[in-house]
Amino acid sequence: MRLIARYAKELQNDFEIITVYEETIEKELVSKEQPKIKTLAKKYPAAIWFERKMHDDFGIIVEDAFDKRPLVQQERFPKDIHPLRKDFTNTQLEETEYIPYKYEAISGDGVFQVAVGPIHAGIIEPGHFQFSQAGEDMLHLEVRHFYKNRGIEKMLEGKTLREAKPVIERTSGNESIAYQICWRDIYLQASQQELPLALKKRHALLLELERVIHHLTDLGFIPNDAGFGAALAYGSKLAEDARRKMKELTGHRFGFGAIDFENHFIDTATFSEWLHELEESIEFFEDWIMDIPSLWDRFDTTGILSLKKALKYNTVGVVARASGLSLDRRINSFYLEHGFIMASEVSGDVGARFKVRLQEVKNSITMMQHFLEEDTSTLELSSIHDGSYHTFTESSIGELFMAIDIKDGVIERFFVRDPSFMNWQALHLMMRSDIIADFPLINKSCDLSYAGNDL
């Protein structure tokens, strides 16, 4: 069974611990006076972050946990505060005494620590990487995040689904359409309505366009991190063109506000023409890039994630598919009918992740051609019903899981698990045989979100 998420929800007298697996959802009640649970981390290493987060958020004690350090709450965060509890209403915290975080580190003769971040060298999101080094060799890496924690889960409580949307779509800018589609699915479930096919196609088109923008950027950035800047110029030009198409279709370069229930005009002829151009450009790019031995010398066998470990750590998305896992939320009749072919590689290295992105861009172009049509349908929304809803979307990074509880018409608990939340926890496994200079390349080949992870 694959672990998808583990999180808590506050009830009247208890906490409900919800564990989402591939096939089932398990629920467990623990009293608020004695909120104690057992760890799942022995079987599922990726449960560690979920459990540490649960402790920070609600004060739930994981009795047999082997890692009891705080996760979201950092050095200056006031102690014994559990902000996701309903009785916590403070909106301004004072910094308290600095209590150092104990990094996982390897010690020994000649082993030293390299601390990188939270502010990195380039134009990137903040996060921290702590390396244990023996010379150039990376012995161990601890990834530490949550610098961008904005308290989105708390922020959305008490809001209607409509009020929550502007925040949900800004959780992670690279995956805005994917987040909005999750929101849309939950809205439809709560109002017990079906989406007209034309709208579904429009939304799927936008999701693929978002994927193409993200992948094209990476297809430039990954070679750039291996010292091949020309690819970045080429990739970023194509990404910019795609981003302008997004603006043409939705009025926004990142598609904020794009997923709704109304019809919009699409100039299909112009868009189709652009898709053809992009297809040619990508073929040219592939021809060119596959033919540069010095580049593939850096890509091949760098940053390997074995199939076994990809499975054990429940990785998702591009990272999983590059390691031979057939995991994609788009495997369903709707997508298959519109030309979906799952991208897959087996070597699990930087080169494999690069190739998966390349395949996915080409496949997305084909699918966008099929999704393209003059849209004519609008959905009149009926009122929503209370209940617990959840949904999945395949974002450009991987499987996105969102769960929303609605009580008295407003959000009682908002939970989202970005694909990055799983993949970040597997990042340290990829650098066992590499040197620290390869780290940016390996990290970029995964291109995970910090904002979506930190919430």
Binding site: F88, Q92, R150, V167
Partner: protein, 168 residues
């Protein structure tokens, strides 16, 4: 590889529609002149993300694509605050990032300026105040200039930089 060189010789410099090109050209020229005058031809920017959704960073990265090519005008994004003249601050100033953003500012040698980027640092984005947010950024850092937008487009960022250059 031969294909690549053929294409390169055949296509030359990337141009857009003429109107936008003229607008861009005008802005580019003014920025270049101003950077030359006020920063001896080289303006170094340290970008600090204090809790954005990454859209502002994506747009700053887009400034380097062949359409905008900001570096040609003498404006560089640098890897360390100690090399910087200006801090470009994006994000909503989370509780967790506040001390780090302040520290980065301390590390910039004087004279120095802070430009806030996007609606988040001004607390204008749809995010509402929670325990984890310390915005607006002006409570923590001296902001010289603000570039609004969610996110501002590359062109808007360039216009914003120009306004900043005119201001100082």
């Amino acid at each position: 590889m031969i294909k690549f060189w053929n294409k390169r010789v055949k296509h030359g410099v990337l141009t857009e529609n003429i109107e936008l090109d003229r607008e861009l050209e005008k802005i580019k020229k003014e920025i270049q002149d101003s950077v030359k005058k006020k920063f001896a031809g080289s303006l170094a920017i340290r970008m600090v993300d204090s809790g954005s959704c990454n859209a502002c960073e994506a747009e700053c990265n887009a400034l380097a694509n062949p359409y905008y090519d900001l570096e040609r005008l003498g404006i560089y994004f640098v890897a360390s605050p100690r090399h910087a003249d200006v801090m470009l601050l994006s994000g909503i100033m989370t509780f967790n990032m506040t001390p780090h953003a302040k520290e980065a500012y301390e590390q910039i040698p004087a004279p120095k300026w802070v430009i806030s980027l996007g609606d988040c640092p001004a607390m204008q984005a749809p995010f509402e105040k929670t325990y984890a947010i310390n915005a607006p950024a002006e409570n923590h850092l001296p902001i010289t200039h603000h570039i609004a937008g969610c996110p501002p487009s590359p062109l808007e960022i360039m216009q914003g930089l120009l306004e900043f250059l005119r201001k100082i």
